[in-house]
C-alpha cells in the first residue's frame, strides 16, 4: 500500500535472533576501530621486537595515558552535545597547582587536598557550564577564555615548581595495588630464556582482578539476556554470545596476565581509577535519562527542546561532569610528575579531542560511544609508546599522530558516504 516505504524488510518475527553478520554490519565502525587498534599493536609489537608488549612497558603505557582516557571520557559528552572544551589542559595545571600548594605550603593531608582538587574541577566546570548554558556564549569561546584564564592562574599559583609530596599522593599514579595474595609461579619460566621479561611470576591480585572482570562480564551479559527474553525481545544467538564472551575473556586474561608479570608490581592504582570512570561514563551514556538527553540535544537541539528536554540544564551538567573528570586528571598528572608545574597539561585538550574523533564521535554532535573513545585514546597511547621505543623523535611522533587523526575521520566519513549510497 505504501509505495514509498523503502525500509520495510520482512523481519516481522518478534523473536528473531540477531545473527553474527547483523551484529558486525551494525557495529562496523566500532569493529573497524578495534581492528585498527589491534593492527597498530601488532605492527609495533613486531617492529619493536616485542618490546611494546613487555610487562613493564604495558604498565608504563597505562600510567602515561591515564589522563587522556579520563579527559576523553568527559570530552565525549561535551562533543556529543555539539560543544568543545579547549580549557582542560590549563585546568589540569591550575587544579594541580591548587592541590600542590595545599600540600606544599599548608601541609594539608593529601586526601583532603585531592578532594579539594576535585571540587575545584567541578566548580570550574560549573563556571564554563554557566556561560555556555545560560548566557549562550559558544563553548569554543568560553573554553578558549578558560584556557587563557586558568593557564594564567596556574602560573600565578605555581610560580615555581612545588615538589616533595606525601608518598600516598605520589602512589595514585605511580603505585600499584599491594601484592597481598602472593605470587603464582610462571609455568613457562623454564621454557623461556633466563632474562625473558615474560618469565616472571604472576601477581595474584592482578590475576584475581582479571577473573573478577571476566565474571562480571559474563554475569552482566546473562542478566541482560534474561531480561530481554522476559520482555519478549530478540536476543543474540547463543553461539555468537559464547564466542563473543570467550574472545573478550581471552583478551582480558592476556592483558592481566602480562600486567601481573611486571617488575614494578601488579595492577597500577590508576588503572582501577580509569576503569571505574569508564564504567560510570558508559553507564551514564547508555542507561540514564541524562545521557539520553545529551544525545538528543546533540542530534537535534530544537527537537529536544520541543520534547520537553531542559537543554540548558543538560549543557550545564555536561560541563560540570567534564570539570569533575578534569579535576581527577589533574590529580593523576600531578601525582605522576610528583610535582605541581605551571606548564603541566599542555595540549591535553587536543589529545582528548583527537581521541574522541578517532573513536567515532561526530564533529556535528549527536554521535559517539565510550568504547570508541577509549579505543581512540589507546590508539594514540600505543602510537606514542611504540614510536618512542623505536626512538622516533617527538616532533615526528606529533606529526604522525596528526595524520592518523585525519585518516581515521576521513575513513569514517568516506565509508559512511559509501554506506549511504549503497
Amino acid at each position: 500500500m505504501t509505495a514509498s516505504t523503502t525500509t520495510s524488510s520482512p523481519a516481522t518475527t518478534a523473536r528473531a535472533t540477531a545473527s553474527l553478520a547483523d551484529i558486525v554490519s551494525r557495529n562496523l565502525r566500532q569493529y573497524g576501530i578495534m581492528i585498527a587498534l589491534v593492527a597498530i599493536i601488532i605492527v609495533f609489537a613486531v617492529s619493536t621486537q616485542g618490546r611494546l608488549i613487555v610487562p613493564n612497558n604495558v604498565w608504563t603505557l597505562i600510567q602515561q595515558n591515564a589522563y587522556v582516557v579520563i579527559l576523553a571520557l568527559g570530552m565525549l559528552l561535551v562533543i556529543i552535545a555539539g560543544h568543545i572544551d579547549l580549557s582542560v589542559g590549563s585546568v589540569v595545571a591550575f587544579v594541580g597547582g591548587i592541590v600542590g600548594y595545599m600540600m606544599y605550603a599548608w601541609d594539608v593531608p593529601w586526601g583532603l587536598a585531592v578532594l579539594a582538587g576535585i571540587a575545584t574541577g567541578v566548580l570550574i566546570g560549573a563556571w564554563h557550564g554557566f556561560w555556555v548554558a545560560y548566557v549562550k556564549v559558544p563553548a569554543f569561546v568560553v573554553t578558549l577564555a578558560g584556557m587563557l584564564l586558568f593557564r594564567g592562574l596556574a602560573q600565578v599559583i605555581a610560580a615555581r615548581t612545588m615538589a616533595g609530596f606525601p608518598a600516598g599522593f605520589n602512589a595514585i599514579a605511580g603505585g600499584s595495588l599491594p601484592n597481598i595474595l602472593g605470587f603464582l609461579a610462571n609455568p613457562f619460566a623454564g621454557v623461556l630464556p633466563a632474562n625473558s621479561p615474560f618469565g616472571q611470576s604472576f601477581d595474584l591480585v592482578t590475576l584475581l582482578i582479571g577473573l573478577i572482570g571476566i565474571a562480571g562480564l559474563v554475569v552482566a551479559t546473562l542478566r541482560s539476556r534474561r531480561s530481554q527474553i522476559a520482555h519478549g525481545l530478540p536476543v543474540e544467538a547463543q553461539r555468537t554470545m559464547i564466542i563473543r564472551l570467550v574472545v573478550i575473556s581471552l583478551v582480558i586474561l592476556a592483558f592481566t596476565g602480562i600486567l601481573a608479570m611486571n617488575l614494578i608490581g601488579g595492577t597500577p592504582i590508576v588503572l582501577m581509577i580509569v576503569a571505574a570512570l569508564i564504567l560510570v561514563t558508559a553507564f551514564i551514556t547508555t542507561r540514564t535519562v541524562f545521557g539520553r538527553h545529551v544525545y538528543a540535544v546533540g542530534g537535534n537541539r530544537a527537537g529536544a527542546l520541543l520534547s520537553g528536554v531542559n537543554t540548558a540544564r543538560v549543557d550545564f551538567m555536561i560541563f560540570v561532569y567534564m570539570g569533575f573528570l578534569t579535576g581527577i586528571a589533574a590529580i593523576v598528572t600531578t601525582s605522576r610528575a610528583g610535582a605541581a608545574v605551571a606548564m603541566a597539561g599542555q595540549s591535553y585538550e587536543l589529545d582528548a579531542i583527537a581521541s574522541c574523533f578517532i573513536g567515532g564521535a561526530a564533529v556535528s554532535g549527536g554521535v559517539g560511544r565510550v568504547t570508541g573513545v577509549v579505543i581512540g585514546a589507546l590508539i594514540m597511547g600505543v602510537l606514542n609508546m611504540g614510536l618512542s621505543i623505536l626512538n622516533v623523535n617527538a616532533n615526528w611522533t606529533m606529526a604522525i599522530k596528526g595524520l592518523v587523526l585525519l585518516a581515521a575521520v576521513a575513513f569514517d566519513l568516506v565509508s559512511k558516504r559509501r554506506g549511504a549510497g549503497a
Binding site: M1, T2, A3, S4, T5, T6, T7, S8, S9, A11, A14, R26, S224, S227, Q228, A230, H231, G232, L233, P234, T286, R287, T288, V289, F290, R292, Y295, A296, G299, N300, A302, G303, A304, L305, L306, S307, G308, V309, N310, G366, V367
Partner: protein, 531 residues
Amino acid sequence: MVVEKPVRELGDVILEMDGITKEFPGVKALDDVTLTVRRGSIHAICGENGAGKSTLMKVLSGVYPVGSYQGRILFEGKTCGFHSIRDSEERGIVIIHQELALSPFLSIAENIFLGNERARHGVIDWGETTTDAVGLLQEVGLDLNPQTKVSELGVGQQQLVEIAKALSKDVKLLILDEPTAALNDDDSANLLRLIQRLQDRGIVSIMISHKLSEIQEIADTTTIIRDGRTIETLDMRDGSVTQERIIQGMVGRSLDSRFPEHTPTVGEELFRIEDWTVHHPADPDRVVVDSASLMVRRGEIVGLAGLMGAGRTELAMSVFGRTWGTGISGQVFKDGKPVDTHTVSQAISHGIAYATEDRKRYGLNLIQTVKENITSAGLAKLARMGVIEVNAETGVAEGFRRDLNIKTPTVEVPVGKLSGGNQQKVVLAKWIYTDADMIILDEPTRGIDVGAKYEIYTIIDRLADSGKGVLMISSELPELLGVCDRIYTLASGRITGCLDRSEATQESLMYLMTLEAPLGETTTESGAALS
C-alpha cells in the same frame, strides 16, 4: 476594493512551459502543468498551500535542474534547459524566494552584486560597485546608503534590495514567490507599485500570492494550480473576475472516500485558549496571533484552517511552552482550570502535546533510533532515579511498532531511514506515549503518500475515541472536512470563524481564510521557527 487598472494590450508569448511533470519520492508535485506568459504582463499564480506553485517556479528558474523533471520550457521562442539558477539568470529569469536570500552582515551594495561582482581580475572595483548600487536603489525607490548592512533593514526594504539585485542582472522575467507575505500594508502597496513600474519598463513579472485582493489589483492574467495541475488561466484585465471566482478554481475538488468513517463521541470541554496574542520574535511590534480564542472538547477533532502566514503554527507553538514568539498574552485552560504552559515540560505535564509540521527539523532526531525517538518525550515514565529501564523501553517501542504499524525492520534503526509516513507515525507514537490527552497535530500528513495518510487518519480517530481532544492544523481543506468535527479559520492571526462539519464547505472555509485584516493591521511572516 476599487480596481483601477488600464486595460493593457499584451504582447506575444515570452514564456511557455509545457507538460511539466515533477516527482519527488512518493509524491507527484507537478502533473503535466502548462503555463503561458505574455510580454508586458503581470501574471499571477494562485493555488492552495502545496498545490505546486513554488515547485513550478523552481523548475522554471533552474533550482530543479533540467532532467529532474519532464516537459519543455520555451523562453523567448527558444527551448531552455537550465542546470542551475545561474543558467536561468543569464537568460534574464530571476527568482526572488519567499525566504529572502540576502547575506545579513554584508552591505546593500555587496548583496546586490553578490556572485556578480563589479570586479576586474578578481579585484572589486568599489567605486563602480557603489555608483551602480546607488542607481539601482533609486530605481526601486530605496533612499539608503548602499554601505548599510542588510541586517539593519526591515523586511520590506530587504525585498526591494532583492529586486535591485534582480535588476542588476538585466532581468526580463521576474518571479516573486509570495512577495508581500511578510510585509505590512504600506510596504506591500509600495512593492506592488514598483512591480507595476517595472511592467511599464517592459519587465514581465510572475507573482505567486495568496492575497486575492492584490492579484485583482495588479495582475493581467491569473493561472490557477491545484493538486499539481493547471486548472485554468483567467484574464483579469477587465476586472470581471471576482475573488469568489478565483476561490472556486482553487478549491473545486470533490471529497472521495479517502477518509475513514468515524462517528464522534463528544464529551465535556477539555482545552480552551482565550484572548491569545503573540508577537513576532524578530519584530516585536508585529502581531502574529491576534486575540485568538478557541476550544476543544473531549473526543472531538477540531480543525484549524488558514493560509500560509495566517499564524497557525505560531499559535500552536506559542501555546506549547512558548516555543515561538514574544510578547505573548492570553490564558490557556485545561478541564476548565487555567494552566501555565510557559515551558515545554509544563505543557507536557498538563497533558498537552504538539506534533510539529516540520518533523525533520523539530519532530525527530534523525540519527537516533526509532526506539529512542518514541520514548524521547515520555522518558521519565521509563526511568527510576534517572536510570532508564532499557529493556522495558524496547518493549514500549515494539508495542507502538505493532500498534501503529510502523514499518521498520527493528526499532533500533535510525529514524531517518524510514519513509515519511512511518516517520510521522513515530512522531505520533512519541506524543501518545506522553499520555497527553490534548494533542495538537500540525500538518500531520504533509509529504506522505495516500496510503499512509489513511493510516494516520485512523490513528487520529482512535485518539479521539479514547476521549482525547485533537486540534489539527492542515493546509488541505478536504482533509479538514474529511476528518474534523469542527473547523476554526484563521486569517492574519485572527480567528475569523468556526464552522461545524455539517455546514463547512471548501468555499466557505476559503472565504473565511482570505478575510483580510482591517486596514493598518500588520500581516505575518510565513513559517515559524523557534525563537
